[in-house]
Symmetry: C2
Subunit: 359 residues, 2 copies
Amino acid sequence: MKLSGLGKCAWNAATSPIRPYGFAARRYGPSLAVLGLSFIVTTAAWAADPLPSWNEGAAKQAIMEFVKATTQEGGNQFVSPAERIATFDQDGTLWVEHPAYSQLFYCLSRVPAVVKAKPELASVEPFKTVLSGDRAAMAKLTLDDYLKIAMVTLSGMPTGEFKQQVHAWLAEARDPRWKRPFTELTYQPMKEVMQYLRDNGYKTYIVTGGGQDFVRTYSEEVYGVPSEQVVGSAGATEYGYDKSGKPQLIKQPKIVLNDNDAGKPENIYLMTGRQPNAAFGNSTGDKQMLEYTKAGQGARLVMLVLHDDAKREYAYGPAQALPDTKVGAFTQSLYDQAKRDGWTVISMKNDWKKVFAFE
Amino acid sequence: MKLSGLGKCAWNAATSPIRPYGFAARRYGPSLAVLGLSFIVTTAAWAADPLPSWNEGAAKQAIMEFVKATTQEGGNQFVSPAERIATFDQDGTLWVEHPAYSQLFYCLSRVPAVVKAKPELASVEPFKTVLSGDRAAMAKLTLDDYLKIAMVTLSGMPTGEFKQQVHAWLAEARDPRWKRPFTELTYQPMKEVMQYLRDNGYKTYIVTGGGQDFVRTYSEEVYGVPSEQVVGSAGATEYGYDKSGKPQLIKQPKIVLNDNDAGKPENIYLMTGRQPNAAFGNSTGDKQMLEYTKAGQGARLVMLVLHDDAKREYAYGPAQALPDTKVGAFTQSLYDQAKRDGWTVISMKNDWKKVFAFE
């Protein structure tokens, strides 16, 4: 995904019904065991597949071969464990980004509370329009309007209070199409890739144009990614003391990191000092991260998620337009670069057995 | 330590003679074994001490009790492994900071090469003075002069080239007093604390006012701290392409993170999203990090290194002046805060059996 600065939104996992990721085999293991040896052999073969939600094909094969090449000691493409880094864009790569980034829903949900605290905003745009609930008028809000909303709703509070606000929203909020918590709209095949890479010594990072603080509230529970491995667009904090003299950090309406486009490799370097061995994205905002990853020495895994499954998720970008050639230039150009530079395109429709865990 | 922005310098470990940290017991184990059972029992008791370079006392006890309290499952101060974070200032806390920060020596050493590439600087101050080698004149350079030197010597090159330059310097540079590589002037007792915390599930971070990129070149080999766990003052990088079209990041003369004072807790939060459970410092630049760490719930370990050993290292700050009460106000105030707020002061003279591994 791509979005300027903090104009994005999402949910929390501490209160969500999402369970930690695990293979279905583990759940059914005991009851299957009574069915006899031949069945057990089949089960074992199936359980040994680290990517059960992937169909056989070039994409799955690229992942398996990359892991094999970089973890085989003595091999000429071996990567030492300390240097194994894989980076994942979030919106559109790890979870659904349509019809809007989840963090945007969050920011809109916070407007009434913010206006209650600052009543003077009630008569000021874009807050007036948001409060009106007039969907036609809201559809006309500009990116600049959304940035104003983001700045006001994502700052002014201590960091701990922000975390609680996001948690509370995630527990209640539902997406407009599936009517499920946003945390359930994560792509099961991608969570399998993350786990598979971790099982092979990789540190998995989320590198998102969305708000770093926002994603950190749920990254551990939803993706198994600890907060220190989330790199995102980030606002400043200011150190100070509360009324009782206790130190605290207050979130400021000032952007420190813009984690889109060139900002992605720049911030990966700032936060880790490393060049990733593997990277996953889906939009032009990921272009520089993907090509920077590909430019490193040795085996590299660079993958681009193509949204071509209108039935199970959405079809947009190149996929939507390919049949009649009305292609959005920016996405077609990324798709062309993928072919030219040896990135692997993931077709949601063809490469994924299932999209969501709840299917 | 404390210094504004990037005006600091150091060395590299890939080429240094420092060996990875290990207890002396391991080296002598086999030959000792032949001496019989009673000796083995004694050896085992000694080998089991995770802090062999520490004298018994309040400081060592505080460390041991903190680790016990926070790692005992079921205990009321238990901290889950994912949340175990310990932060260490570098200059004056992990290694010698007198007579000047090592990174400053590095920056000065780069001046001739920079002037060779940009001859117009030869007649411009402060470069003219540095090139003259006139020590009396150099002693009069201001902090602003040093910042100019830092900006010019720490930017303009691809990130990989910078790393090579630091590596080369570290291999050759020697400190003025001990005539040893700077990497050998690390405090053995502090390296033991880092290892002890890691052995108990803590992630150890270096949080330095010095240059993040500089420290990252040697942090893994010297301290066992991977680059992604170094937070420091940092310059921007700019994504671009070299002549062959290959992506690269060029270091810019623009500060993104100033990791001193309030900047320390702010940047710890930016980089990790966490509040440390333990923190170690030695100067006013560490004050906010120490009090922020102490402000968290549950068991907290906050330690202040007091330089009171003129013989084995240096005596300065409160220690130097305590006998005759001519105390530098800023350091005395920090020392007073330590007593008031329950931080533990580490006396180099009394708490450390040895200061350096080479003793």
